[in-house]
């Protein structure tokens, strides 16, 4: 039995045991995280629930059968009526999946890995992020839950992620593309939750003009979701990728932040007045982050779009945590016109260039 076959058969697996060829084991995000860990990038420790775990849960709990019947019954309406989609989705999630008990062997595996993770982090009931991980990338389709603490909550939120494969938007997405609506196995990544003092995104090129010699960072206080959801205008930093000099700093007024609440989960709160207009990253963090960005880009061989956080519990440089990375989606996919118009000799290039001149108005 080969090792890869083994991976397929587990319910739970450490992230670092996954690599980029394993999207069918626990979804794309998990294998990305695994690959990053293997590349010694500062990704938080964690484990993955495999696609098999998802299938096993639906089968063994009896949910699968009910889902198939329900979908069969409404097949025609679903295709034509978006409201029906909402209604069926709500039924499948709330009345079917969320009511099912997880099979014991699954529960045991999760408990085993979670205990070990708590051991690694040196913290009982370590707060974790429970993230969806589809085998093909469908950004924003499935749900992710932050700051989950303790075994029972963890189990419940894993099921919530699984259930999100039947949320209305992903069902509609599958229907529109004539994909099998009854099944969309997803993996789940369970990662130590960064206690994010600041977080944000980083592009390893200039998103404005595609300049590959620049690194572009946006960030704000607290967890990254406030940035993603547009509640805050983030600070902006532009770094020269080659000389690693900070070329631009735009510090904005950041009124709110998302933080871990006392009972778990995430709360929005006002940013302390003295912090509102202060930079959410200091220079050494900016430069360390840029260097990590450079390393990630080098590892993947293509410009990246990266989510990062600064962990308040850790000290520099270990406080920089990479949450996710993916290929930058605009400039790297644009067909690029070569600047060199001809293969002519240098003197001709200079001659033609001088003909063009520099526009003054």
């Amino acid at each position: 039995m080969s090792k890869d076959l083994n991976k397929d058969q587990c319910y739970v697996i450490w992230l670092q045991e996954l690599n980029k060829d394993d999207p069918m084991v626990a979804g794309k995000k998990c294998c990305h995280l695994g690959e990053m860990l293997q590349a010694k990038l500062p990704v938080p420790p964690g484990f993955a629930l495999t696609l098999k775990a998802y299938e096993t849960f639906l089968q063994a709990s009896g949910a699968k059968k009910i889902i198939l019947n329900t979908l069969d019954k409404h097949e025609h309406e679903l295709k034509n009526d978006i409201n029906k989609c909402e209604e069926v989705s709500s039924y499948i999630i709330n009345d079917v999946i969320m009511n099912k008990e997880m099979p014991a062997e699954l529960k045991e595996s999760i408990a085993l890995y979670y205990d070990q993770l708590c051991g690694i982090c040196g913290c009982v009931d370590t707060p974790v992020a429970v993230r969806s991980s589809g085998p093909v990338s469908m950004p924003g389709q499935f749900d992710t839950f932050l700051n989950i603490s303790g075994y029972d909550d963890l189990l419940q939120n894993i099921v919530k992620v699984w259930a999100s494969s039947f949320n209305a938007r992903s069902m509609a997405y599958r229907l529109q593309r004539n994909m099998a609506v009854e099944s969309s196995p997803i993996g789940v990544a369970v990662l130590k939750m960064a206690n994010a003092r600041s977080s944000g995104v980083m592009f390893t090129l200039d998103p404005v003009n595609g300049d590959p010699s620049r690194i572009f960072i946006e960030g704000s206080w607290g967890l990254g979701e406030s940035l993603v959801s547009g509640q805050v205008t983030p600070d902006k930093f532009v770094i020269d990728k080659i000389t690693l000099e900070i070329k631009e700093k735009t510090i904005c007024d950041k009124a709110v932040e998302l933080v871990r609440g006392p009972q778990g989960h995430v709360i929005t709160r006002d940013v302390a007045p003295e912090k509102r207009s202060a930079a959410c990253l200091c220079d050494e963090e900016i430069l360390e982050l840029a260097q990590i960005g450079k390393r990630i880009e080098k590892h993947y061989g293509v410009a990246q779009d990266i989510e990062w956080a600064i962990d308040e519990d850790l000290t520099f440089p270990h406080n920089i945590i990479i949450l996710q990375t993916r290929q930058e989606s605009i400039w790297t996919k644009k067909p690029k016109e070569p600047v060199a118009k001809t293969k002519s000799g240098t003197t001709e290039v200079i001659a033609r260039g001088l003909m063009q001149g520099i526009k003054l108005r």
Partner: protein, 612 residues
């Protein structure tokens, strides 16, 4: 095309009261005209910008020689020798003593296309044979300098030496003096012919490389590019390097106290001669001089930009500073290895980021040509502006002594108030009066005229020349205009924006980000090299332009700001070398900022904030 905005017409710049008639100090073709209507129309439509990079001060009539020299030399290499496409020469004029220049373009596309073919053949030859031709250049220039060094200017004898008779010479010392003067002027013009032999092509290669890089890396810094192209062993650093070596040698020989304690160089040399170790140091000092002490204390363009030979206490004080630094345990070495490594890393990293294969090949080719050209671009100043000029000015002073002897001038330094053509006339006046035995007209004529000219030039100093006059062109193709003077859309627009604002109301100035870093400090506006000693530690140097020979002050200052200059201006190069924030090409800094004013200099953005 966006809205067309104009500067003041060159014919409408107000005169400076009390200077009326100033035009006669300069050749007639330097003045804007309203009499020749065709010319007036051309002048009105052209774009004239103030060349404060070379001329931070009003022109002395004689010093205009170098301007005349490059007026022709730069232009001819564009227009008639290398056939730079779409660009003829650079035209020159004077307004109230200040020099304005204007790139002359070519509009007819057919003509441009024909010029491309000629350019490729001619420039191609130079690019391909660059190193050999540069070696030849050094030989030519060395010989030229030798000729001038060997020239002597002697006063006229009461009676000619008998040899004139017995050897059948047939020519007098008076004739020879006129001839020597003309020869000296011609050597000067010749030196400037060579000055531009390679420069247009060097700049062209750099400008096109920069343009290519900006298309792939819009955010690439000019100073990053110049680090990739620039040489490691630059001649302009050699004079200062000699001083560092002398400082080290003093410590090694244990004679540092004799050097340091002496107030003046002569005292130090006398003390050092007393023992063997000291003698060894003195010998090393003497050996280090030639030709490196021809380093100018300014740019070399003005007669009062004295060389280290003339102002020997300057290098001597620098040596003392270096000894101090060594004794404090500081390193005084240029990080040559580091510069080399940085250069290689930059090239490798940028190359790796270029995805397209053709682009990568073209980048490497253009870079390689620019790198080949750069030693010349960086080194020619030492040969011409420092060494040649340094020798030249003093030969002129020798001639000035003869004029003083004959009562034309009260002081040698008055010679600079006559232009080169007037000087030839005055000399002819002098030799004919010597020949005839009749008193010359010169003394009565020139003394009064010189007094008036001194007054006029002083009045010109109070005038702030506008950064540009005339109309903005749509495109600039002239390589020097882009690279050396740094004329860009941004700079032109900023000049236009600023032209209506009172200097007192200005809160911000923009220029080129020439060297990274940000600092707050107090301004010290320096109008001439003589004022350099006023600079205090940490002050921000504000000048029209600077010269690498101001090196010692760069150890002291917190940042540098200049009015004029692009990426290759002296201030930009030196600040990068010394890791100081610098903003160059601000157009207005030295006339807007006052000494003692608090500033914030942002060398990353090219922004100066005037704080209260």
């Amino acid at each position: 095309m966006t809205e067309k905005r104009s500067f003041l017409s060159p014919h409408e710049v107000p005169a400076v009261p009390g200077t009326e008639g100033w035009e006669r100090m300069y050749p007639y073709y330097y003045t804007f005209t309203t009499e020749d209507k065709e010319m007036q129309e051309y002048e009105n439509k052209a774009f004239w910008y103030y060349d404060g990079l070379h001329y931070p001060e009003p022109m002395y009539p004689f010093d205009l020689l170098w301007d005349e020299a490059w007026y022709m030399a730069l232009s001819q290499n564009n227009s008639r020798i290398f056939s730079i496409p779409a660009s003829m020469g650079i035209d020159h004029r004077i307004i109230n003593g200040y020099l304005y220049i204007s790139p002359v373009g070519i509009d007819d596309p057919k003509v441009v296309e024909q010029r491309v073919a000629d350019f490729m053949k001619r420039a191609g030859y130079y690019y391909e044979n660059w190193d050999d031709l540069y070696e030849k250049w050094k030989d030519k220039v060395n010989e030229l300098i030798k000729n001038v060094e060997n020239m002597t200017m002697e006063d006229l004898p009461q009676l000619e030496n008998e040899s004139v008779v017995f050897e059948g010479v047939g020519r007098s010392s008076g004739f020879e003096l006129v001839r020597k003067y003309n020869e000296l002027i011609n050597y000067g013009l010749e030196a400037w012919q060579y000055h531009f032999e390679f420069l247009n092509l060097g700049y062209a290669a750099y400008v096109i490389l920069a343009d290519f890089c900006k298309k792939i890396f819009p955010g690439m810094d000019d100073r990053t590019l110049s680090k990739m192209v620039g040489g490691v062993d630059v001649i302009l650093f050699k004079p200062d390097e000699n001083l560092r070596e002398l400082a080290k040698l003093a410590l090694k020989l244990g004679v540092q106290d004799q050097v340091k304690k002496a107030e003046r160089l002569d005292d130090a040399l006398a003390a050092l001669q007393e023992n063997e170790k000291g003698q060894e140091w003195v010998k090393a000092f003497e050996d280090a001089k030639y030709p490196w002490f021809y380093m100018s204390t300014g740019t070399g363009w003005y007669h009062d930009h004295w060389t280290w030979y003339d102002k020997i206490e300057i290098p001597f004080n620098n040596i003392k500073n270096y000894i101090d630094m060594l004794e404090k345990g500081e390193s005084i070495d240029r990080p040559v290895e580091q510069v080399k490594e940085t250069k290689e890393n930059l090239v490798n990293e940028y190359t790796a980021l270029i995805e397209n294969e053709d682009d990568r090949a073209q980048f490497q080719q253009l870079l390689s040509v620019a790198q080949t050209c750069f030693p010349y671009v960086e080194d020619h100043n030492f040969y011409i502006e420092h060494w040649f000029h340094g020798v030249f000015w003093n030969k002129m002073r020798d001639l000035g002594k003869i004029f003083v002897n004959h009562g034309f001038f009260r002081d040698v330094e008055e010679i600079w108030y006559l232009n080169r053509f007037e000087l030839e006339q005055a000399l002819y006046d002098l030799v004919t009066s010597w020949a005839t035995g009749v008193k010359p007209r010169g003394p009565s004529y020139w003394r009064a005229e010189i007094d008036w000219r001194k007054d006029v030039i002083n009045k010109f100093r109070q005038f702030s020349p506008p950064p540009a006059v005339g109309q903005t062109p749509e495109v600039v193709n002239e390589p020097f205009t882009i690279m050396l003077w740094g004329i860009t859309t941004e700079s032109v627009n900023q000049w236009l924006d600023a032209s209506g604002i009172e200097p007192d109301k200005m809160t911000e100035l923009k220029g080129f980000p020439a060297s990274a870093g940000s600092i707050e400090g107090y301004a010290r506006v320096i109008k001439s090299p003589e004022q350099l000693h006023e600079l205090e530690d940490g002050e921000i140097l504000v000048a029209t332009t600077t010269s690498p020979s101001w090196t010692p002050v760069f150890n002291k200052i917190g940042a540098a700001i200049t009015d004029v200059g692009g990426i290759m201006s002296h201030a930009a190069i030196v600040c990068r070398e010394y890791g100081l924030p610098a903003v160059v090409g601000t157009g207005l800094a030295s006339s807007t900022i006052k000494t003692g004013q608090k500033l914030r200099v942002d060398g990353d953005k090219g922004l100066i904030t005037l704080l209260k």
